[in-house]
C-alpha cells in the first residue's frame, strides 16, 4: 500500500494517492464484515455534513432555521445515538428486564468494529467546529482523518488538529527512508509485544478467568497478573504497530502509552495509560462538566462522572461501570491525599498504585460481577492457599521454605513456573525498561540489534501464527 501511495504522489497524483489510502483503509475496515462499511461511510458523511453546517451557522450571515448550538446538539445526539443503539441497547434491555421482571427479547446486535473510537473522534471535531474557528477541511482529508487504517480499529483517538495539518503537508507525500525505518522498528516492537508476550499471558489469563471452579490464592494472582500484563502488552503493542505503520506514511500519531505501570499515583497512571482517551475525556467531558472550577465537591463529582462514563465507554456491563467508578473514587482520594500534604515513600506509592490497578482490572476482565468477586476472594486467600508441586519447588528455591500446603488439583496452566517466570521477567521490563517511544525518540541511526529485533519479531510472528489460536487485539472490543 505504501508503495502505491508514494508512487502516485511521486507521479504528481496527490489526490489520487489520498483516495487510494482512504479506499485501502475502508477495505481494511470492511475485511471483518463488509456490512460495517455502510455504517462508517454514513457516519463520515453525516458528520462532515454537520461540521459544514456548523461552519455556516457560525457565520454572521447565517439565516438558517436553527442555531449552531442546536445543530451541535443534534450532531452529538446522532453520534451517541448510534453508539448507544449498537453498544448499549441489549445492556439496557437486560436491566429493564431485571428491574421490571419483563421479558423484552435482546436484539443481539453485532457491535460494529471501532465504533467507540470513530464516534469520539468525530464528536470532538463537531464540538471544535462549534467552539473554535476550525479550518474547514476538504471531504477527502476528513475521510482520511476518520478512516486512516493504522489508528482506525483501536486508536489512538486522534484529534483533527494534530492529523489534518499532516495530511495537508506536501512533504509528507514523499518517501522518507528515516521514517520508514523507524516505523518498521516501532511496528515490529509492537508486533513482538502482541504476538509473543501478550498472547502468551492470554493463555494463562483466559484459563484463570474462564475457569469453572474458584481459583486458589496463587492461581488467582497468576491469572490477574497475567491479565494485567496481557492488557498492557496487547494494547501498547497495538498502539506501537499503529504508530509504526502510520510513520511509514510520514504521519505521526500521538503517544498513547508512557510506561503506565511505572506510575506513582492514580492520576499519574491516567496520564500514562491510553493517553488519548484521557485527553478526550478531559477536554470533552470533564472540563465541559465544570472541571475543577466549581468547587471541590463538584470537582469530585465531575471526576466520578467522567470515569463512570469512561468505564461504560469500554463496555456495556456493570463490571465496566464499577471499574470506572473505582478509578473515579481513587482519583477523588488522590485529590484528598494531595490536599492533606501527606507523603509516602516512592516504592510504597508505586506498589499501591500497581496493586490497585491490578485489582481493578479484575472487574474489567471478569464476565460478571460474581465472577470478579470470586477472583478477588481467591486473591485474598478465601478459596484456600494451594500450590502445585512444581510451583512450590520454585518458591522453595526462592524463599528457602517449603510451601506446599496441599497438592493442587488439575493440570491447569496457572501457577506453573512459566507463569511466574513470565510475570517476573515481563513485569520487570514494564516497571523499569524504557518504553518503545523512549527507545526510538530522535533515532536516525540504527544498530544491528535493531535489525535483529525487527527480523526476529517477524520470524517469531510467522512461526507463532502457524498455531494461532485466533487472538484478536483486546481493544478491538471497545
Amino acid at each position: 500500500m505504501a508503495l502505491v501511495y508514494f508512487v502516485l504522489n511521486k507521479l504528481g497524483h496527490i489526490q489520487i494517492a489520498k483516495i487510494s489510502l482512504v479506499l485501502a483503509s475502508l477495505f481494511f475496515y470492511a475485511y471483518w464484515n463488509p456490512l460495517y462499511l455502510i455504517l462508517i461511510i454514513g457516519s463520515i458523511v453525516a458528520n462532515f455534513g454537520i461540521g459544514a453546517l456548523l461552519h455556516r451557522a457560525k457565520r454572521d450571515s447565517w439565516k438558517g432555521p436553527v442555531s449552531a448550538k442546536f445543530i451541535l446538539i443534534c450532531g452529538i445526539a446522532l453520534n451517541l445515538g448510534l453508539l448507544g443503539y449498537f453498544k448499549y441497547t441489549d445492556f439496557f434491555i437486560e436491566n429493564i428486564n431485571l428491574l421490571l421482571a419483563a421479558e423484552v427479547p435482546a436484539l443481539n446486535l453485532l457491535l460494529p468494529l471501532a465504533i467507540s473510537f470513530f464516534t469520539f473522534q468525530q464528536i470532538a471535531y463537531l464540538v471544535d467546529c462549534y467552539k473554535f474557528d476550525v479550518y474547514e477541511y476538504d471531504f477527502l482529508s476528513y475521510c482520511l482523518f476518520v478512516s486512516f487504517f493504522p489508528q482506525l480499529i483501536a486508536g489512538p483517538i486522534v484529534h483533527h488538529k494534530e492529523m489534518m495539518p499532516q495530511f495537508y503537508d506536501v512533504k509528507n507525500a514523499f518517501v522518507n527512508s528515516a521514517n520508514i525505518a523507524k516505523g518498521v522498528l516501532i511496528f515490529c516492537i509492537g508486533l513482538f509485544k502482541k504476538v509473543v508476550i501478550a498472547d502468551t499471558f492470554a493463555v494463562w489469563a483466559d484459563a484463570g478467568f474462564d475457569s469453572d471452579r474458584a481459583l486458589t490464592f496463587f492461581e488467582s494472582w497468576g491469572a490477574s497478573l497475567s491479565y494485567t500484563f496481557q492488557l498492557y502488552y496487547d494494547f501498547s503493542g497495538y498502539t506501537d504497530m499503529a504508530i509504526g505503520a502510520a510513520l511509514i506514511f510520514n504521519i505521526v500519531l500521538p503517544l498513547n502509552f508512557n510506561s503506565p505501570y511505572k506510575s506513582l499515583d492514580i492520576q499519574d497512571f491516567w496520564r500514562r495509560w491510553h493517553m488519548t482517551l484521557s485527553r478526550w475525556l478531559k477536554d470533552y467531558l470533564y472540563i465541559p462538566l465544570g472541571g475543577n472550577r466549581k468547587g471541590p465537591y463538584r470537582t469530585y463529582f465531575n471526576l466520578l462522572a467522567t470515569f463512570v462514563l469512561g468505564g461504560l465507554w469500554h463496555g456495556a456491563g456493570w463490571t465496566f461501570v464499577l471499574w470506572g467508578a473505582l478509578h473515579g473514587f481513587a482519583l477523588v482520594i488522590h485529590r484528598l491525599w494531595e490536599k492533606s500534604r501527606l507523603n509516602m515513600p516512592k516504592s510504597c506509592a508505586w506498589a499501591c498504585t500497581f496493586l490497585f490497578v491490578n485489582i481493578t482490572w479484575v472487574f474489567f476482565r471478569a464476565d460478571t460481577l460474581p465472577d470478579a468477586i470470586r477472583m478477588l476472594k481467591g486473591m485474598v486467600g478465601l478459596n484456600g492457599i494451594v500450590v502445585s508441586e512444581e510451583f512450590a519447588a520454585v518458591l522453595a528455591n526462592v524463599t528457602g521454605q517449603t510451601l506446599i500446603l496441599s497438592s493442587a488439583a488439575g493440570g491447569n496452566l496457572i501457577g506453573t513456573k512459566y507463569t511466574l517466570l513470565s510475570i517476573l521477567v515481563f513485569g520487570f521490563i514494564a516497571f523499569t525498561f524504557k518504553n518503545s517511544m523512549e527507545m526510538t525518540r530522535g533515532k536516525t541511526y540504527f544498530s544491528l540489534w535493531d535489525s535483529l529485533r525487527v527480523s526476529g519479531s517477524l520470524l517469531l510472528t510467522l512461526l507463532l501464527a502457524i498455531a494461532s489460536t485466533s487472538s484478536v487485539f483486546l481493544y478491538f472490543n471497545f
Partner: protein, 513 residues
C-alpha cells in the same frame, strides 16, 4: 546504520534467521529415525528391494477394504497396504512412495473424497505425529525435497510443538527403543493374519466411533457441514496428479479406484438428490482429470458403496466379509479393465525372508549405534537399577524389573563396555549373579566367542583375556535349558519362557574368589 542500510539488513537477517531455524529444526527436531514407527511404513522400506510388488495407499478405507491375499493371488505378486489416515496430505505420500517404489511396481489409490479436494493443510494431529508422539510420521517429512521440508517447517510446524519436541528429546522421553520397535514388527509379521501385510480388515462392534457421532455420512465424506454442495476438484489434487506422473515415468503403474463408503443405521451415504447430482459431476471431473494424466480409473463410486449391514465403526470402514466381497469385486473390475497380473514369482514366504533379512540388518545397525552409547564400566557393580543404561540387551531378555531381568527363550545375549584402564592388565574378571526359575540351574556361558564350562550363575566370576576384548566391548551369550513359562507350569498367567534372572554384573581387576 543509515535507514536504507537498516531496512536491507532487516531483510537479510530475516532470511538468515529463518534459514537457520529451518536447518536447526530439520537436523535437531525432526530426526532421521533408523526405523519408522508404523509397521506398514516398515514393510514398504523392508520390501523396497523387491521389484514387481503392489502397494495400496490411501486413507483408512484402504485398510479396511482389501484383502492382500486375494489381491496377491490375482497379481501373482506381493501386495502391501500402506494406507493410514485420510488427513495425511497426498503430496507427502507421493514423495514417500517415490523413494521406495521400484520400476515394475504397481500403485493402487482408493483415495478418499477429501484427497480430491483441498488436501494441502496439515492437521494438528499430523504435525504432532511428525515431531512428537514417537515420531510416527517423521518419514513423510524426511522424504520431502529440501525446499518442501523447509516450507513445512516454516509454515506448518507450530513453534510450541518444536519446543516441546526438543525438550522431550533432550530428556530422552520421546522414543520407543529401536529394538523394541523391531520386536513389535516381528510380532506383527508372524501374526499370520492380514495385518502382516498392512491390512486391518476385521469384524468389530458395529458402533460408530464417538468422534463421528455428530456427522452424517455425507458430512463426513465431503465435509459439507449439513449442506449439499460437495464442491469441486481442487487444484491441490491436480498438482498431485502432476507429481504422480513422475512416479509413472519411473515405471510404476498407477490405478485409481473409488473409496469404500458404508451406510450406518442412522445415516445413508450419497443420500440426497443434490449430493448424488454433485457426486455425478465431481466423479466425472475426477475421472477426466485422472485419465488426462494417463492414469486408469477402476470402477464406479457405487461399486464400493455398502449398506449398513457392512458398517464397522465409521463411514469408511467395512466389516471383514464385506471387505472380502469388495476385494473380489475389485479384482473383477481389474480383469474388466485388462489390468494384467505382474507374475513377480515371489511368494509370501520369500517376502517374509526378505523382511527377516532386513530386520537383522536393522537390528545390527541399532546394536552398533547403541553400543557406541554404552558407558565404559569400571569396578562398580551393575545392579538392576543401572541395567537399562549400562548393559545392552541384544536378544532373549524380558524388560528390566526391580529385582533383575528375566531371560526369555533358550539364548540370551547382552553386551557391555569396559573402561580402557582395565585392559592394561592381562585378565579382567567378569562377575554374573542371578537366580533361576523352576530348577535346571545350569547355564552355558560364552564371552567374546570363548566358551566357559556350564555352571549355576550365582555369584560366578569369569576370567577374560584382555587380548580377547576388542574396542572395549564384551559380548556375553547365555544358553539355558529346560525353559518353560509359569503358565505352562500352571503357576500364573505369565506366558514368558523364563529361566535365569540377571541380578548383578560386576567387573574386577583380580580374581575375587
Amino acid at each position: 546504520m543509515r535507514p536504507i542500510q537498516f531496512l536491507l539488513s532487516c531483510v537479510v537477517l530475516f532470511v538468515i534467521l529463518a534459514g537457520s531455524y529451518a536447518v536447526f529444526v530439520d537436523r535437531m527436531v525432526i530426526p532421521q529415525e533408523a526405523l519408522p514407527y508404523p509397521y506398514k511404513q516398515f514393510l514398504l522400506e523392508a520390501t523396497s528391494s523387491i521389484s514387481g510388488k503392489v502397494i495400496i495407499d490411501s486413507g483408512s478405507n484402504g485398510l479396511h477394504s482389501f484383502d492382500t491375499k486375494i489381491l496377491s493371488e490375482y497379481f501373482q505378486a506381493p501386495v502391501i497396504t500402506l494406507s493410514d489416515v485420510a488427513e495425511n496430505p497426498l503430496r507427502y505420500k507421493i514423495y514417500n512412495l517415490r523413494k521406495y517404489l521400484k520400476p515394475g511396481d504397481t500403485l493402487i489409490l482408493p483415495l478418499e473424497w477429501q484427497h480430491y479436494r483441498r488436501n494441502s493443510e496439515t492437521s494438528q494431529r499430523f504435525v504432532e505425529n511428525v515431531v512428537l508422539n514417537e515420531h510416527a510420521y517423521d518419514y513423510y517429512i524426511n522424504n520431502l525435497p529440501l525446499l518442501e521440508r523447509f516450507e513445512f517447517i516454516l509454515q506448518k510446524l507450530p513453534l510450541y510443538i518444536v519446543i516441546n519436541s526438543f525438550i522431550r528429546q533432550q530428556n530422552g522421553t520421546l522414543f520407543e527403543n529401536g529394538l523394541e520397535r523391531l520386536g513389535r514388527f516381528e510380532n506383527v509379521l508372524r501374526s499370520g493374519d492380514n495385518t502382516s501385510f498392512g491390512g486391518e480388515i476385521r469384524d468389530g462392534p458395529e458402533e460408530i466411533l464417538p468422534l463421528f457421532l455428530n456427522f452424517s455420512c455425507d458430512d463426513l465424506l465431503f465435509r459439507i457441514g449439513g449442506g449439499s454442495d460437495i464442491g469441486e476438484i481442487h487444484k491441490v489434487f491436480l498438482s498431485n496428479l502432476v507429481l504422480l506422473e513422475t512416479l509413472a515415468k519411473q515405471g510404476i503403474s498407477i490405478y485409481f479406484t473409488w473409496p469404500t463408503v458404508v451406510d450406518s443405521k442412522r445415516s445413508v451415504c450419497y443420500e440426497s438428490p443434490k449430493v448424488r447430482e454433485g457426486l455425478r459431476r465431481l466423479s466425472a471431473s475426477i475421472v477426466e482429470s485422472v485419465e488426462s494424466h494417463g492414469f486408469q480409473f477402476i470402477g464406479i463410486p457405487e461399486d464400493s458403496h455398502f449398506d449398513s449391514s457392512c458398517f464397522l465403526d465409521n463411514y469408511y470402514h467395512i466389516r471383514y466379509s464385506c471387505a472380502i466381497a469388495r476385494t473380489h469385486s475389485f479384482v473383477e473390475s481389474l480383469r474388466n479393465h485388462r489390468v494384467e497380473p505382474l507374475n513377480t514369482q515371489i511368494n509370501e514366504n520369500q517376502v517374509v525372508e526378505v523382511i527377516d533379512a532386513y530386520i537383522e540388518i536393522k537390528r545390527q545397525q541399532i546394536l552398533e549405534e547403541k553400543a557406541k552409547e554404552l558407558p565404559a564400566l569400571n569396578e562398580a557393580v551393575v545392579t538392576p537399577l543401572d541395567q537399562k543404561r549400562k548393559l545392552l540387551f541384544h536378544s532373549g531378555w524380558s524388560t528390566v524389573e526391580d529385582k533383575g531381568t528375566w531371560s526369555i527363550g533358550t539364548e540370551s545375549v547382552f553386551q557391555m563396555r569396559i573402561e580402557s584402564s582395565f585392559l592394561k592388565q592381562e585378565y579382567v574378571y567378569l562377575g554374573i549373579d542371578g537366580d533361576y526359575f523352576n530348577g535346571a540351574e545350569n547355564t552355558e556361558v560364552e564371552i567374546n566367542g570363548t566358551s566357559y564350562d556350564s555352571r549355576t550363575l550365582n555369584d560366578q566370576f569369569f576370567r577374560i583375556s584382555s587380548q580377547n576384548i576388542i574396542d572395549q566391548m564384551v559380548l556375553v551369550r547365555l544358553q539355558h535349558s529346560d525353559v518353560r513359562s509359569p503358565k505352562m507350569l500352571g503357576r500364573s498367567e505369565d506366558t514368558r519362557m523364563i529361566k535365569f534372572r540377571l541380578r548383578d554384573v560386576s567387573l574386577s581387576r583380580s580374581n575375587p574368589n
